[in-house]
Symmetry: none
Subunit: 176 residues, 4 copies
DNA sequence: CGGTAATCGAGACGGTACGTCATGTCTTACA
DNA sequence: TGTAAGACATGACGTACCGTCTCGATTACCG
């Protein structure tokens, strides 16, 4: 899937390579995309690693996760599979829910913890819109992953976090 | 396509609805995705409209375009088709080039003009990385379109532009 | 099976309806067809009933059994299942043997007794080919069951027996 | 199909051997059985051959066709395929109609001509039930094909026709 | 103005993959 | 120990589209 994308892989191929019947694949995964989601969840679990806990600085907390994401995507081309998953989620509401439940929510929730702590420490204005904040920090990453219009590396990650946090402090956005 | 996504539409269906033979479709478009790109380009051309020229303020220049995007996406669900196009571009390099050429580049170039003017006016530090700047402003939009984790409206658009520009001034990023 | 034919019934269905595991069905019957044969044998055993013994007239002896067959097939649509069994026997020699052993032979043997007696009584020429004789009497029945090109009822049964026996006497056939 | 029966042949196999796609087979034949029927019709067309016309004697007319059938079935094992077709017709009424239309009716109609002529010549009582008559002559053939309980050859064919015609004259059956 | 292209609709074709179903074997867990 | 429940590898089912291809019919242009 990493090599050719979700949609170019057939369940028939998966079953053959697994030495199993198609029906067995279907018994456990409702579709190629659910299978891909399961696999991605596994491969990208290091971002959620509890052993790299809160650092005491919001910038550092975010940078640790963003750097880990960058590292993983540099190592292996997850972008193709991700694009396939996101595209599929547009047309399959049930899958969209699963995607959010299994992938998006846990990662967002981890960040919510760090944001809470940052507000407590006074690093961020109280009442800051977390969804807005996380978009500012992480969406440039996804944008570059999907469009490849520029490099995605550690230096860039730090610039993004710096700019985003500066923006959040200079132009605070309260949750509505 | 807007209703069901690119991949759920078959060329056979397109041909039937157009009252033409499949071969005629293939004669003019290399694939469903190219066809979709052509259609999107047409429907989203208003963002490039020259009649809404430079306003004298970078914030306003960006806001005009972002608001237009928001308006278009509120009116009709382009997100589904876009996700399909982006996903397809991941696996088909030739199509990726076409996508950038026909869709991404013209829109980015328009913005480059506004950024140049902003630098001239001193609104932005000289040497600012334009790709970085545009990511900061526009990627939250695509992120919300693809993930639907929050509203996308005019008020939100202004908050994004404010935060992004503030971030860019507070933590300047020079093109490398 | 009577409703839908042997081949449209799955072992899975049988097991489910019996409240048993599939393996248990397989332990006792080698295949759907053997199971069907067992069931048919039971349902069609009345033709072999010893309580309706020799009548003293060949015509009557045959008519009793043919009428019983007709009655059974009028009551319930055994034809479908029979066709399935006969078809299966064409491709599975082992099953063919079982079919003859369990179903065909006992019924033919009963008739042989009546034919012997008829020869003794002088109703039939000595040396008559019994297989030939039984074909003449009973094959129209199977033909109509399988092709449904005409009614199968008591009046018809008597006509068949009359014509067949007349033919056998007028154009005797000696066993070779 | 002759070697392994209709049901043991898969459409996939047919398509592969024909060097065509499955869909092409399905475009022209609704099912394996219809395909088999088409093939049988072709292979068994010699029975309908108009070049072997009326002989002037009913016995001879029937014998010519029955002998041709016997010859064909001796040459190649059509029985297996026939049993499959007959079995399938039991559960698929639409196919049953097709089978009668394409296979049974033309052959029966040919015989009706001969029977008419025989009645005209006085060989058969006027008003004879043709379906009954044809059953008497031909059903032993099908019975032996399906059950293989005895030889099917030219000598046997003549005995069948003799006995059947004798029976029809001795015990006339009027159409109801 | 009539003949020659080009273009088109229609749809057959060889393929690939789909998702479902049933096969017969097997393992597990309970009674 | 025997059995229900059901997982499993297998393989065919019939369907949907793919992208290519051949047909005629219809334009439309040129000689």
């Amino acid at each position: 899937m990493l090599d050719r994308g979700v949609e170019s892989v057939s369940i028939e191929e998966v079953a053959a390579q697994a030495g199993s019947g198609k029906a067995t694949i279907y018994r456990w995964w409702a579709s190629k995309e659910v299978l891909a989601l399961d696999a991605l969840d596994r491969e990208l679990s290091s971002v959620l690693a509890p052993d790299t806990a809160e650092t005491g600085s919001l910038k550092e907390d975010m940078l640790v996760r963003l750097r880990e994401l960058v590292r993983l995507f540099q190592e292996r081309p997850f972008g193709r599979v991700f694009a396939g998953i996101v595209a599929h989620a547009q047309s399959d509401p049930e899958f969209a829910l699963l995607y959010v439940d299994r992938f998006v929510r846990p990662r967002r929730q981890l960040m919510h913890g760090f944001l809470d702590a940052a507000v407590d420490r006074g690093e961020l204005p109280a009442g800051t819109d977390y969804d807005f904040a996380l978009d500012l920090v992480f969406s440039p990453f996804w944008n570059r992953v999907f469009h490849r219009h520029g490099p995605v590396d550690e230096a860039w990650a730090e610039q993004v976090v710096d700019a985003a946090l500066a923006g959040l402090c200079a132009a605070p956005v309260r949750a509505r």
